[in-house]
């Protein structure tokens, strides 16, 4: 155990600690140092570190209070559990519709739509090889397609996430569908997922075919339009998931994501927008790996950093604008094709990490994602995994249940330092603002 200043420190305490340390050294078989994915050395035991409530408010605060380390809402999952948002998309609009109605029936509370890769890339569907159409996403080329895909789905009450790097095409189809059904845009809620073009340029490469400068301008226009016309739509989801899946450590992924978000915030300011208006509609999307405590610490540190950045760098005045809302997805890269059923255990573990980390929305991978686009049965198990964790495991009973754990608090501080180091390099090199420098965090 690391020796640190401790008010309870007495001779007896030191004696007991020394005895434990000695016996530990005698009994431990492996002397190989343990470190997490971000390269932080992990001790076998953590002890009291924070000497009083003195810096509690500054470093942690209560849930729903800045810096939001313990959660962005007062009641967190006890008041409202996370949205179950499974990413889906395959086949024709009618096939998508059938799947989405099944998922709603199985308990999913928010939906998403992954378009066919041809839509993603901005191809006309006549221009791509026929065997590929609809095999990895739904073919949505027109407003009619969207209307069919969302048949029987009450888009005035259910939140819809559109995976759309363009980033406005699918949203325009949704708005047209709303018009056809006489639903006011005031009631349309959801997110333009994948609108973070930087993450596509550096890691995922599923971007719409635009220059980096063009994408940057369109994103700002898109945010401005949504703020004026669709009050409950989140026009931006800043994506750390791509980077972590492409090989970034959890700390790097968080650092890159916050740096990108900062850049988008600055672009909005330059466009004359009010930070207290646009920042509450910024959302984040992260990978959740098997490294459970590290992931929890990553999210706690991310919340704290964002709360500070929004105030200090972007001029947010309201507490609301400083909230770090995020969607999490369990890690496909951690799954194995051999013995695929074991993936259910992995997905559960990752989901627990995300829930304990205080996420707002969760996608659990189907165990067969290592072999194909998920089939119906594995997809149902993935939804059931969330139901079980929510209903049976007591995970929603206590807010930030790992808060106060000596280990997790220490790790949160260390992850924060790592993340800030990454961000300092990004800032100094101008990685986000000068496209030619993007290779620095390119995967």
């Amino acid at each position: 155990m690391r020796r640190r200043t401790n008010p309870a420190s007495t001779d007896l305490y030191d004696q007991a600690h020394a005895q434990w340390e000695k016996e530990y050294d005698q009994n431990i078989h492996s002397k190989v140092p343990v470190q997490n994915r971000s390269g932080i050395p992990i001790q076998p035991l953590y002890g009291p570190t924070r000497d009083s409530a003195e810096n509690y408010l500054e470093a942690l605060g209560f849930p729903g209070q800045v810096p939001y380390t313990r959660g962005i809402y007062t009641t967190m999952h006890r008041g409202k559990t996370w949205s179950q948002r499974q990413l889906i998309g395959q086949g024709t609009p009618d096939e998508y519709n059938k799947r989405v109605l099944q998922l709603i029936d199985a308990g999913t509370t928010a939906i998403s739509l992954i378009p066919c890769n041809s839509v993603y890339r901005g191809n006309d569907c006549d221009d791509v090889p026929l065997p590929l159409l609809g095999t990895c996403g739904t073919v949505i080329n027109t407003a009619d397609h969207m209307d069919s895909a969302l048949k029987g789905v009450d888009i005035g009450s259910i939140s819809t996430a559109m995976n759309d790097p363009s980033p406005f095409t699918l949203l325009s189809f949704v708005l047209n569908t709303a018009d056809r059904r006489s639903i006011s845009w005031q009631h349309i809620s959801g997110t333009s997922n994948q609108s973070d073009f930087l993450s596509h340029f550096v890691a995922n490469h599923m971007f719409f075919r635009l220059s980096l400068e063009g994408a940057r301008r369109i994103l700002v226009d898109h945010i401005a339009f949504c703020r004026q016309r669709i009050p409950h739509w989140n026009p931006l989801s800043v994506v750390g998931q791509h980077m972590q899946q492409a090989g970034a450590t959890p700390a790097q992924a968080m650092g890159f994501t916050l740096s990108s978000a900062l850049q988008y915030g600055r672009d909005c300011l330059e466009h004359g927008m009010d930070p207290d208006d646009f920042l509450p509609r910024f959302t984040f999307f992260f990978d959740i790996s098997m490294s459970l405590f590290e992931e929890v610490a990553k999210f706690r540190a991310g919340r704290r950093i964002w709360a500070n950045l929004t105030q200090n760098e972007l001029g947010a005045k309201t507490a609301h604008a400083r909230r770090f809302k995020f969607h999490g997805q369990t890690s496909g890269a951690d799954l194995t094709r051999q013995q695929p059923l074991n993936n259910i255990t992995r997905v559960s573990t990752q989901a627990i990490a995300g829930i304990l980390g205080g996420l707002q929305s969760l996608h659990t991978d189907a165990y067969d994602e290592v072999s194909n686009v998920p089939n119906e049965h594995p997809a149902r198990i993935a939804v059931a995994t969330q139901n079980i964790l929510r209903e049976e495991a007591g995970l929603c009973d206590v807010i930030d249940p790992l808060g106060g754990s000596w280990y997790v608090e220490d790790l949160t501080d260390q992850m924060e330092k790592k993340i800030l180091n990454v961000m300092a390099v990004v800032e100094n090199e101008g990685v986000c603002s000068r496209p030619s420098n993007r290779d620095w965090f390119s995967a």
Partner: protein
Amino acid sequence: MNAPNQIPYRILVTKVGLDGHDRGSRIVAAYLRDAGMEVIYTPPWQSLDAVVRLAGDEDVDLVGISSLSTDHLIIPDLMSRLTAADLTHVRVVVGGIVPDEEYPLLLESGVSAILGPGTDRGTIVEQISGFAAAARHERDTEFI
């Protein structure tokens, strides 16, 4: 992995179709390069014609295609085009996510092997050099 004094195997590592997830292709390209092969690497989204043209122009022994969404479905078409371009000796190996039931589709169209998730570096290098050697031999005997 080449025999001494032999011209290194030439491998085209590419992605066809619409998907852009290129981490796997980059890693495999590095594995093959480190094993002494000459790797011609392209970004994703190549058309089948571009792959055929590159395979011919670059005189490659083997084309490695990484497919992580469903782009493997057009590989049978690639095989026909390679044949039409008189590149029958060029071997094709697919890596990435191919559903079990679609293995026959690829293998019957002439794909030499599918290396799925979990295939280790040694196996990749060994398989690729084995197929590349066969391709090289076939090409050289054709010309005699």
